[in-house]
């Protein structure tokens, strides 16, 4: 991990902080009723998306889940465009026609958040096949949840990726809940996805998803292996989400102080802050400056999103086809 110099560490912090503040703000704004539809918040899981995506560049593709804001930000999708998209505005990343669950930026290799659980893995097999065939040196990463790890598409994709030796990685973000159902029940043998990889002859690695450094190191190895033709890996990040499956979910299925305890003892941003400040790599003032920069960006993006126009009426009918 020698490439984690001060600059990279501050960049990691800024990415995680941006995701956290973006989600916390969407949580607040959604409650006012101004944001249409559904949102699914990634707060609490930042170390996973950031630790993985920091290794990637524009050659690489990722596919996300319905809980996609964190992956979008980690992959470099523009924050203001994302906020405008969540508000459904014309200035949004997808011109207001996709919304929270379908934010995508193909120029940045972000193949989309996905409203279909398990929708991503087959697409990522394809992206990886394209990069292998066209010899771009790129790789592809599918993020799925513990719930998505039960979908048939995931199993088929694990098999296909192995037999075709595709340059891809399946990152299972296991937060213990598939909607309101415990993954300890729904994922056979107590919710561990890692062991499933063994069945396909694929290496499976588990890391603590609250620990940026653990995720970064393991993901780095998997990505390098894929880039060099070594084939796919399953990386399971065990972590926690702070908010419900969707905004509006009262989360009564969780023990009362569960989220509070996690925020107090295992928050990935706090753990990161403590580590880099105690190691002397950064000052508290450096991090606070980043905090302020991020808050300003989020505030501006909300103000601008609210003020932005709706798409014009004729946009209802455009972009169905390239040509018809």
């Amino acid at each position: 991990m020698l490439d984690l110099n001060r600059e990279r560490l501050l960049q990691a912090y800024e990415t995680m902080k941006t995701i956290r503040e973006f989600e916390e703000r969407v949580h607040i704004e959604f409650a006012t009723g101004e944001i249409p539809g559904f949102v699914h918040l990634y707060a609490g899981e930042e170390a996973s998306g950031t630790g993985v995506c920091m290794h990637l560049d524009d050659r690489d593709s990722i596919a996300s889940t319905h809980r996609g804001h964190g992956h979008c930000i980690a992959k470099g999708v523009e924050v203001k465009g994302m906020m405008a998209e969540i508000y459904g505005k014309d200035t949004g990343t997808c011109r207001g026609k996709g919304g929270s669950m379908h934010i995508a930026d193909l120029d940045k290799g972000m193949m989309g958040a996905n409203g279909i659980v398990g929708g991503g893995p087959p697409l990522i097999c394809g992206a990886a096949l394209a990069k292998k065939t066209l010899k771009t040196g790129g790789i592809a990463i599918a993020f799925v949840g513990d719930g998505g790890s039960n979908q048939g598409t995931t199993f088929e994709s694990l098999n296909l990726a192995t037999i075709w030796n595709l340059p891809c990685i399946f990152v299972v973000e296991n937060n213990g809940y598939a909607e309101s159902t415990s993954s300890k029940w729904s994922v056979s043998l107590s919710g561990n996805a890692t062991d499933r990889a063994a069945g396909f002859g694929m290496p499976g690695v588990e890391v603590d998803g609250h620990d940026f450094f653990a995720v970064y190191e393991a993901a780095g190895e998997a990505i390098e292996r894929a880039r060099n033709g070594g084939g796919p890996t399953l990386l399971e990040c065990k972590l926690n989400r702070y908010y419900g499956h969707f905004e509006g979910d009262a989360q009564t299925y969780r023990p009362q102080d569960e989220v509070k305890n996690i925020r107090e003892t295992k928050d990935c941003l706090e753990l990161f802050r403590k580590k880099v400040t105690s190691d002397g790599i950064a000052d508290v003032s450096d991090l606070n400056a980043i905090d302020q920069k991020v808050m300003k960006l989020i505030e501006e993006s909300v103000v601008e999103a609210k003020a932005a126009p709706n798409p014009a009426e004729q946009e209802l009918l455009t972009d169905v086809y390239v040509s018809y």
């Binding site: 997808c94 697409l123 994709s157 018809y324």
Partner: protein
């Protein structure tokens, strides 16, 4: 004399010529080569009916056998299409769409719209349709209306070798996702087939026959039934205009409406079923937009609302035949 070849050859040739022209075109599907990793021949099958045979020998790794994992490999073809390849994936039988439909209708069809116009998904899914093979209920359906219903997909249903080649070449060159339907009973059909590559635009119907008395819109294999009916009715002085839409999405609405404006009478013969099928769709189009041109009620000739039976006698009853088309015409047109 023009060169003659089969519908099957037309498809094979279209694939071969496009793969020669464009190195980003790849083929994948179950047994599209056949024999992968076995100790016998590779290129053993070329698809279950041999349609893609020879392509693996010529193009090697660009022709990929897949495991029986439709949602994974159809999804992979779609994902690869967004990342610079132009895959032609084979969904062996349209009846199997159930196991991969999400990737087609929720992913491929919607990327461009959901992502604000930034995605292009130039994937072709070739698939076998149609009854008559005694293949029974799960291998004989004509489910193209379901794909036609989905905005973002294009659907082609060629009725002869010439259209098959031209439309498949167009499908591969097209930058939208295309469902290319090949009727399994048409593979052995012979017809004129130019050797050089050529393309046929989508949304352009073919007028098989011209006439003033009645418009018969026929799709896929039913074009043959309509043609034979046209010949029989001509003996009786009834001149049929036979319109083959060739693609159901986009549909050449203008040609259909112009023909009905001329003839005032419409018979639609289609092998997809009576509920929410192409006959219902086209009947609705004409009834709403050309009501004043109609001199008689619209006639539809379709199978019954049942699964396809196995027994050969029953299956033959299921499939609309020439006699039923003739009868439908006679319901609304008097002969000599």
């Amino acid at each position: 004399m023009a060169r003659r070849a089969t519908f099957q050859k037309a498809i094979n040739e279209a694939l071969e010529q496009e793969m020669e022209r464009d190195s980003s075109v790849i083929i994948m599907g179950e047994d599209v080569a056949g024999g992968t990793y076995t100790e016998g021949d590779s290129d053993a099958w070329g698809g279950p009916l041999g349609v893609t045979q020879g392509l693996y020998t010529k193009f090697g790794d660009r022709v990929m056998d897949t495991p029986i994992s439709e949602s994974a490999f159809i999804g992979a073809a779609i994902g690869a299409a967004t990342c610079g390849l132009r895959p032609v994936a084979e969904l062996m039988f349209i009846d199997f769409m159930g196991v991969c439909f999400d990737q087609i209708f929720n992913q491929a069809a919607k990327f461009r719209y959901m992502f604000g116009g930034k995605a292009e998904t130039p994937v072709v899914i070739r698939t076998m349709i149609g009854a008559g093979f005694r293949a029974a209920a799960q291998h004989s359906q004509g489910l193209y209306p379901i794909f036609t219903h989905i905005p973002g997909l294009k659907v082609a249903v060629p009725s002869n070798p010439y259209d098959a080649k031209g439309l498949l070449i167009q499908s591969i060159r097209d930058n939208d996702p295309v469902i290319f339907c090949e009727h399994k009973m048409l593979y052995d059909m012979e017809g004129d087939l130019p050797e050089e590559p050529f393309s046929i635009p989508f949304g352009e119907a073919n007028f098989i026959r011209e006439g003033d008395d009645v418009t018969i819109v026929a799709i896929g294999r039913m074009v043959q039934m309509a043609s034979e009916a046209g010949d029989a009715l001509a003996q009786d002085g009834i001149q049929c205009e036979i319109v083959d839409p060739r693609t159901t999405s986009p549909l050449d609405e203008d040609s259909i409406l112009e023909s009905v404006e001329k003839t005032g009478r419409l018979v639609i013969v289609d092998e997809s079923g009576p509920r929410c099928g192409m006959a219902a769709d086209i009947a609705s189009l004409v009834a709403t937009q050309a009501f004043d041109d109609l001199k008689a009620p619209i006639q539809t000739v379709t199978p019954p609302h049942t699964p396809v039976p196995f027994n050969d006698f029953l299956e033959d009853l299921y499939i609309p035949d020439t006699e039923r088309v003739v009868k439908a015409v006679r319901n609304i047109v008097k002969g000599n």
